[in-house]
Symmetry: C3
């Protein structure tokens, strides 16, 4: 009974930076939130690309390896590639076209929905440090946290997923 009274929670670790997997993460997250679960998404490693606003900040300090990495990775959610059949971007373009025809939400729309539904989005501090990504480069409202923040949420959640 105690369990019924306390709010139900869900957490999703977004480790992947592929369009298809990140969309899967947001579809589950927004469904969880719409069904009344307090939902937290924790973005780490390649997944951080989904939270980037776009142009990189000139004031963010990076060494040459991090600069190179920044050039190779997507600059924002709309640029993410497919995990398979990406075919130099043609695959992800086709997927987006099909989804638009079927009136399905795009990734930027899903992110907006997640925000409206109060889904917490946390960027992994350690990954930001390793990859050379600064807070001002991330979408507004994104929090920054560590593995302990994640485990603190997950240990009381009913649904915990890791999307790699």
């Amino acid at each position: 009974m105690a369990e019924e009274d306390s709010p139900r929670k869900a957490t999703i670790v977004v480790f992947s930076g592929s369009l298809d997997k990140v969309m899967g993460a947001f579809i589950i997250a927004t469904t969880c939130a719409a069904m009344g679960l307090q939902t937290t998404m924790f973005f780490t490693f390649w997944g951080l690309s989904a939270l980037k606003k776009g142009p990189s900040s000139a004031t963010c300090k990076r060494n040459w390896m991090q600069k190179m990495l920044g050039m190779m990775l997507p600059k924002k959610a709309a640029d993410l590639p497919l995990s398979q059949l990406n075919m130099a971007g043609m695959g992800s373009k086709m997927l987006k076209q099909i989804m638009a025809q079927k009136k399905m939400a795009s990734l930027p729309e899903l992110i907006e929905m997640a925000r409206d539904l109060d889904v917490r989005m946390i960027a992994c501090q350690m990954s930001m440090d390793a990859m050379g990504i600064c807070k001002e480069e991330l979408l507004d409202g994104v929090e920054v946290g560590g593995a302990a923040t994640y485990v603190g949420e997950a240990k009381d959640a009913q649904i915990n997923l890791f999307i790699s």
Copy 2:
């Protein structure tokens, strides 16, 4: 105590269409079911390939992009590639050979076992719409559902996994 009385549940999202990962999903699912957990597998995106019966249906309507996608994707569980070292099918053929020598169950056998153990298999409606896959192309007994069906099961389950 209430928790002890209610049946224990497990859910597995199968997002991947790789032989090795889908086999992992079915090995865990059949073990869960054999150990008394009500087990539900939710197949989405690339994972749908594992549920396809074989030849595609002529009455299933598809636009040209979906037709192209259908040609590029595996036609049935037995055709799935490995996620690594597939080497144009040689890798998956070798894995199947080794497993047969060791008397391990093949993927089609694992699917059959899952059925016998009453594992629920749900195909994601939205992925079917996006990829142009019709219900008559899926194995008999497969249900069709949405993200809300999945979250409804997962929020009361002890084990929830996402296999990407």
Copy 3:
């Protein structure tokens, strides 16, 4: 209340053999253990590479397919490639360099930390049989178990993740 009294548990299936994903698994596992959760990692398929000690044993029997597989797979945790941007090892070398500069723990150090924190590491028997890996080739202290061992732990755990 019963739930509060019994120790909290976490399980992580490590299916992937990529440096980035295995590091993610160990960072979460050590954090769980440091926060008081009884933590079990279950290594299967490609993930077994992370537990290999190094040189393969001459007394371990392998057929020619397993020998070939052994030659293609990493020999120990320090040899794991990145899941993306590995660029023939340059990517993983650069990641390790950045992490050393930032004073972050390397994978071998994380494995050592996991041991010190009493994280249980279980190698999947069926994967070992299929891939031709013998117990003496795995790090000391690693247990061997099957899917039932895993589900037995996971069904009572608060956090269950599958890292593929």
